[in-house]
Every structure is written in C-alpha cells, then in structure tokens.
C-alpha cells in the first residue's frame, strides 16, 4: 500500500511550469468571458449597452430580473412553468420504465434466451439521431391530435433517455449481491416488493445519475420542442428563447437577462455539485 502511494506521488508529481499555466489561464478565459459578459449585460439598460457594450454594471439594475419574471408581456414565467411540467413528467416516465427494465436486464434471476439480444436492440438506438425518428413521431402525434399539447413532448421525451438509463440501471443492479434478493424472498416478498423495498433503495446512486443526465437533456431539448409545439403559450424555455431574440431582439438587456435567468438554475446547481455533474455525464457516455 505504502509503495503504491509513493509511486503514485512520483508519477503524478505536478507539472509546475509558468508558460503552461499562462496558456491554460488564457484558454480558460475563453470559457468564462462569454458568461461574465452576459451577466454584465443583464444588469444594465439597453441604451447604456448601445453606448458601450463593455461597460461594467456599476449600478446593477436588478429590476431587469423582476421585469423578466413578472412582466405579463414577456411571459417568461409561463415558459419556465411549461419547461418544468414537461421535464418532470417525462422524467417520471423515464425513471419508472428504466428502473424496472434495468432490474429485469441486470439480475440473473430474470435471464431468458433472448434477453441479451433484446438489450443489444435497446443499445443500438444510441446510434440513432433524432432526425430519423422525429418525422414519424410527428405524424403519430398528429394522428392522435396531440400536436400543440404538452403531451407530445412529454411522451416522446420519456423515450429519449430510455436506452442510456436502462443501461446505467442494469449495470448497477447487476453488481449487487444475490443474497439481498434471496433474503427478501425468504421473508416472503414477491418480485415487485423485493425490487421496490430492497433493491431500488440501494441503487440510489445510479438513480441520481439517471435523473441528472435526463434532466439536462430534456430541459435543453430544442428540435422536438419547436416541431411538436408551435403555440406560443405552450412553448418550453429553449423554444421560447429562440423567439425572444426575434421579438425583443434590440432590447439587448432583456435578452441577456433572459439568457442568464434560463441558465442560472443549472449554473447554481453545477457550482454546488460540480463533481456529481461531471461524474454523472461521464457515466452517461456509453461506448458507442
């Protein structure tokens, strides 16, 4: 153990080089400046911005945010609520289906001849781009008169994250010891109870990853959002943002405020839980 420690320390002995640090810092500025600039713009007035786009918000106008959130002409809150409804219900679909299926695919008890073939079929769809699915999905929704309802988005989003989520859940369930199941069964629990009361609570870390990666992808989705829903009052945030720029395009301060307000919830969560985010999204990248 001790020798491993020494070797690790020696191998990974940090590079301390000023040129490298300077290059990395400059490179990192490219990632920070656009965000900082947006935050600065969001706290100023459009007239002020036109005079000097790069002035600092010396008297921050927090009222931009109040206006954005409560002005009935902008309706930002409505889009925000739409996004929350669509994202949470579609997440619910994905979670229920993927935890059940992940359990069925992961545990040896439910082995049957075609199971791995079925799992392969599921993973194959990770190669499918949206483009090859969404035209028939549109026709399907049109046939059931669901275009311009939130249901169109909820139902389809629910299927988007299914393969990744089932994969993540099943690999997690697969590595749990079988004794847990056996103990529950001896206590008289049936399959569903064993799953719900014994196995699912243990799989919480995998569940957290599933929630995180799907939340991000559903919350940020654009292609389906502008295709299935064209009615302004039902738009989700990304779709509404596209139109903001057209509607209030010259009101730079308000556009910047809406951009910051739309990314702020995720940004705050990320600053608090950055390791969890990075780990979760790394786990979500399955070998293609």
């Amino acid at each position: 153990m001790f020798s491993v420690h020494i070797s690790r320390a020696r191998v990974l002995a940090g590079i301390r080089s000023i040129p490298i640090t300077v290059v990395l810092m400059l490179f990192t500025l490219i990632f920070i400046i656009p965000f900082a600039w947006m935050i600065s713009l969001s706290l100023r007035t459009s007239g002020d911005i036109l005079l000097n786009p790069y002035g600092l918000p010396l008297n921050p106008r927090w009222s931009n945010y109040w206006k954005l959130l409560f002005d009935p002409a902008i309706k930002f809150y409505q889009y925000f609520v739409n996004s929350i409804i669509v994202t949470s219900l579609s997440l619910l679909i994905t979670i229920v289906l993927s935890t059940l299926a992940g359990y069925g695919f992961g545990r040896p008890r439910y082995e049957f001849p075609w199971r791995s073939a079925l799992f392969g079929l599921l993973l194959f769809s990770l190669m499918l781009p949206h483009q090859i699915l969404y035209i028939p999905q549109y026709v399907m929704m049109a046939q059931y008169k669901l275009i311009n309802t939130r249901w169109a988005l909820i139902l389809i989003y629910g299927s988007l994250g299914l393969p990744v989520s089932i994969y993540l859940m099943s690999t997690y369930f697969a590595q749990l010891p079988g004794e847990l199941e056996d103990a529950a069964r001896i206590d008289g629990a049936d399959d569903l109870r064993t799953f719900w009361h014994v196995m699912l609570p243990i799989a919480r870390p995998a569940l957290a990853t599933v929630i995180l990666i799907n939340f991000l992808s559903y919350w940020n989705e654009l292609l389906l959002a502008i295709t299935m829903v064209t009615k302004p009052s039902l738009r989700t945030l990304p779709a509404a943002m596209m139109n903001f720029v057209g509607d209030i395009g010259t009101d730079y301060a308000m556009v910047a405020t809406s951009l910051v307000a739309a990314m702020l919830p995720i940004l705050i969560l990320y600053i608090l839980l950055s390791e969890k985010f990075i780990e979760g999204l790394t786990a979500g990248a399955i070998k293609g």
Binding site: V4, G104, I135, Q143
Partner: protein, 313 residues
Amino acid sequence: MTSSVQTQRVAAEEVALRKVRRPWGGILLFLGPAMIYYLIFTVYPFFASIYYSVTSITPVGGKITTTFVGLQNYIAIFTTDDVFRQAVRNSLLWSVVGPALEMTVATALAVVIYFRVPFHRFYRVAWFTPILMSGVIVGIIFRWVFDYDWGLLDSVLRAVGLDALALNWLGRLDTPIWVVIAVHFWATVGYSFVLLLAGLSAIPVDLMEAAYIDGASRLRAVWHVLLPLLRPTWVTVLILSFMGKMNAFNVVWALTMGGPMHASETVATYIQKRAFGWSTLDLGYPAALSVVWFCAVMIGVFVLRRWLQPKTD
C-alpha cells in the same frame, strides 16, 4: 451436520428448479412496460422513416395522405438537390475538422491535467460548464460575440489595431460554417476532455512508474506508455465527437439557422426546414434525407472503428 447437508441439497434442487421454471411474471413485469414504450416511440418510428422515404406523405389537420413514389425521393436527393449538396459539404467539412480539432486539444488538456497542474480542479469545472447549457443559449451568446458592430471578437480585433481582420463573421458566405465549427468546439471540448481524463485515470500508475525506472523522460513516457494505453477510450470519444458533429442541430439553429443563403446549412438543419419550415407539405422527402444521412453516419462510424481499432495480433 445432516441438516446442513439437507439444506444444501434443497438449495441445489431449488437452483435446478429455478433454471427450469423461469419467473416469466417477473420478466414481463420488469421488461414489458419499457420494451412496449420503446417499440412504440423508437423502433416503430425508425422503420416508419424508412417506409416514408419511398412515399409522398402529407399531413393536413389530423388526416394523413400517403402515396407510394418508389425511389423518386432518393433520385431527387442525389441528382437535383443543390441545397442538400451544400449541406453535405458543410457537414462533412465539420465532421473532419471538428473532431480533429476537438480530439487534439482535448487530449493535450487531459494529459496536462492528469499531471495535476496548479488549479487543475478549477480548469476542469470551467471547461465543462458549456455542456450543461442549452445549445440555444450558447448560440445566442455567440451571435453577439461574432456581431460585426459591437461583437466581442471584432471589438477586441479593432482595439488591437487589426481592423482588417474584423469581419462580418455571420453575414458573409465563407465564414459562418467556421464560426459554427468554433462555437460547437467551445461547447463540447470540455466533454471530450473529461471522458479522456477519466480514461487516463483508469490506467494503472505502475506502468508509468516502470517507464520512469527504465529512464524514460516524462514526455517519452506519455508518448510511449500513456497514450497507447488510452487508445480504446480515445477511439470511443472520437466516434462520439464525430456523431455529435454529424447530427448537431441546436447550436447551428440558434446561431445561424443554416444561413445566410445556406452558407452554414447542415444536413440536420436542412431536414428540419424541408420537413417543417418551408411548408412543402411533404414529409416523405425529408424522411428520405434522414435515411440517407443515417446511413452516411453509420458508414463513417464503421470506417473509423475499422481504421483505428487496435489490431489484435
């Protein structure tokens, strides 16, 4: 003693029994709902796209009219569609330049961070941030960054006296696709970097240690030990990056909408326009486009795998 043998025998019988009698109820209960959902919303649309591609299909109101047209859509795509040709040219350029740039930079960054440079945690968090943002937000921010009159880039160029380089990046015909490539790089390089770093961290440190004992310098150890061991991960990340560029939609849509005059059109934005933007009232043709492009991406992935997968000898 006997009782333990007995229980063992009972357990063995139980195992044998379990092998014969599968818990079909449980299997159906756990796999059924997800597989049915998957059939309806993923498998069916996939085959429907292939079927639509040989038809002319018009949805008006709730009514769908379908006419079989044979290979007509495909013939039109390959013979008369100039916009498609432009979109393919852009997408192919992007799928070569994009992953090449991204993999080079991401690999360099991953190696540097692997050796724990000062502030490595800070860098990692900063580079990863754009991944979490909607492509719409990224697109709108960079519309402003590349604005001719007051954009960040041109303002900086003018401030340092390079007025000649201060172009109307998004308004010309030759630069927009490069802006799209650059912005998408900005948005996704952090992801490739993190995946490569995870790959590096999984390599046993002893191997590097052995290289040092043999007298290799750090640079030589990286080149001859670390990078060859990273190769399987590297190929996977490259393929993810390639597929990402071939199918990217959000950032392009928010940044340029494929314009001006199709200068930054990609196949993904073109399919969207043909299906829902131009009121052509025909979904068969865009379906054929999507099938053609899906095959192109599959061939690309296959070639990359074949070409780059380490040979087992």
